[in-house]
């Protein structure tokens, strides 16, 4: 069933969301309301990586560091 879904394209978008969220955190310059909300976004991004991206190529461990 995995062939029925555009996994490559989905994985690229997930990666783009991670990059965008991380850039946002940088731009936030230590604003707690930005940094902490981005952390939560990244935790959700990680779940997308575990569910989709890892099937193609196991992603590096991220978060919690």
């Amino acid at each position: 069933m995995s062939e029925e879904y555009p996994l490559e394209q989905m994985a690229q978008l997930i990666s783009a969301i991670r990059r965008a969220a991380s850039e946002l955190k940088e731009l936030g310059g230590g604003i707690p309301a930005v940094g902490r909300n981005v952390e939560r976004i990244l935790a959700s991004v990680r779940m997308l990586e575990l569910n989709i991206s890892d099937v193609l190529n196991v992603t590096e461990v991220s978060g919690g560091e």
Partner: protein, 445 residues
């Protein structure tokens, strides 16, 4: 296949050879993470002479030292306080504290980062979706929200799925039943013991029939073996007029398997966990179905306090069914958790699993839900007793029930029990995990 029955059709129907590749790569990843970030794991692996680059096959995984709960207890209470050096992240990254229930001794602390917590809810989302929980459900959770992890992640997962969640935390049992009726809850999560208790209180104290007067259609259960014991499952489904689905999990592991709508075994979430079954005596790997052994488990994606080749002491067996009508490719176990390696003991020279008694007690309609097994030693001889409650309306059938109970127990366990009938309502009632087996021989040592 109807893709609408899966939380994630990509992983849940992944061909088995791809699943195995994924598992190996994910094991390498968590092993490297723990080696790099945890003093405890690095020391353990260095002493065994294994480094991250050494894990190339599943046979290599078998060489990785196991972790036991006693090892976790030994390091906890030390720096970084209170978790000790198994911790892989700075303390300030920990957002969640939970602890084991202490069923088998001193509780073990479980730290999680927010990402870990998302992961735990994700594991539970697989569970609840497989049980048929959907956005339209109103889920009642009659659970005392506290340091025990139990249904916390179920709460978050139900929200993630989009259900409406009604937390029944500080309410007492009667108030919980009335609240379920008031809000017309359609789904429920509780241990088998507490589901029976809720039904008993509804019937005997409130005059309500859960199957007719409440609106529950599906129930998620776990934390005890009952959900996979046919007689207990039948009893609960009849009392509630609802489908009962089981899953298994543990504080230090996560929620690692689940029953699907086919109700024919529990699918191991093999995309998130590696389950190995070892022979109880030889430690050899068991891959064939129907042979009981001890579970050794790895959670691939939990980072703060990784669970790598954890010797769970839970006794399980693979299912003979290689496929499932639901289409999931995740392998199934049969009968849920069959017991604890610690609890399976010899009585009068016979290997005895306490869970075998539950199937007998719950299959006799004249008996109440509660029971207690006591093993002791009289002189040099083992003695085993079973205390049960005869339902008030069947008091005139005491002798016939006693005979039938003794007969079925002999067939099931090869043991002759001393049978004691207690007044209905006098045996202990439990809200989370029950403690129905007492081996006084261990206490006497």
């Amino acid at each position: 296949m109807n893709a609408g029955i899966y939380w994630n059709p990509v992983l849940e129907t992944l061909p088995r050879e791809k699943l195995a590749e994924l598992q190996l790569r994910k094991f390498q990843r968590i092993f490297s993470w723990a080696y790099k970030h945890s003093k405890f794991y690095r020391k353990l692996y260095k002493e065994a002479g294994i480094e991250p680059g050494d894990i190339k096959t599943f046979e290599d995984i078998r060489r990785v030292p196991k972790v036991e709960k006693a090892m976790m207890r030994a390091i906890q209470g030390k720096d970084p306080y209170p978790y000790g050096d198994m911790l892989c992240v700075p303390l300030e990254e920990v957002t969640e504290y939970h602890q084991t229930s202490g069923t088998t001794g001193q509780p073990v602390y479980q730290p999680d980062t927010w990402q870990d917590w998302e992961w735990l809810a994700e594991c539970w989302a697989y569970i609840l979706y497989a049980h048929g929980f959907r956005k339209h459900d109103r889920v009642f959770i009659p659970f005392g929200y506290n340091v025990f992890i139990a249904f916390w992640a179920g709460h978050y997962a139900a929200e993630k799925i989009g259900c409406e969640v009604v937390p029944g935390g500080v309410l007492n049992t009667e108030a919980r039943i009335l609240k379920m009726r008031e809000v017309r809850a359609t789904a429920l999560m509780a241990t088998p013991t507490y589901l029976l208790r809720l039904a008993e209180v509804a019937q005997n104290k409130l005059g309500l029939d859960p199957a007719k007067d409440l609106y529950i259609t599906k129930i998620a259960t776990g934390a005890e073996p009952g959900g996979s014991i046919p007689a207990t499952k039948r009893r609960i489904e009849k009392l509630w007029g609802a489908k009962l689905y089981e899953h298994c999990g543990a504080t230090e592991i996560g929620a690692w398997n689940y029953e699907c709508l086919a109700q024919s075994g529990l699918h191991v979430n093999e995309a998130f966990f590696l389950v190995e079954i070892e022979d109880l005596e030889t430690g050899e790997l068991i891959t064939e179905p129907g042979k009981m052994g001890k579970m050794v488990i790895t959670a691939f994606d939990r980072l703060a306090q990784p669970c790598i080749r954890f010797d769970s002491k839970d006794v399980i067996q693979w299912s003979p069914e290689e496929t499932c009508e639901c289409g999931r490719t995740f392998r199934k176990i049969q009968g849920g958790i069959l017991g604890r390696a610690d609890d399976i003991t010899k009585v009068k020279g016979v290997l005895f699993a306490p869970t075998s008694v539950e199937e007998v007690v719950r299959s006799i309609p004249e008996l109440g839900n509660e029971y207690e097994i006591i093993v002791s030693r009289k002189g040099e001889v083992d003695d085993i007793s079973l205390r049960v409650e005869l339902l008030p309306e069947f008091q005139d059938r005491r002798e016939a029930v006693k005979e039938e109970l003794g007969r079925q127990l002999r067939v099931k366990t090869n043991l002759r029990f001393n049978l004691e009938f207690c007044e209905f309502g006098t045996l202990p009632r439990y809200e989370v995990k029950s403690k129905r087996f007492k081996d006084l021989r261990k206490e006497a040592k």
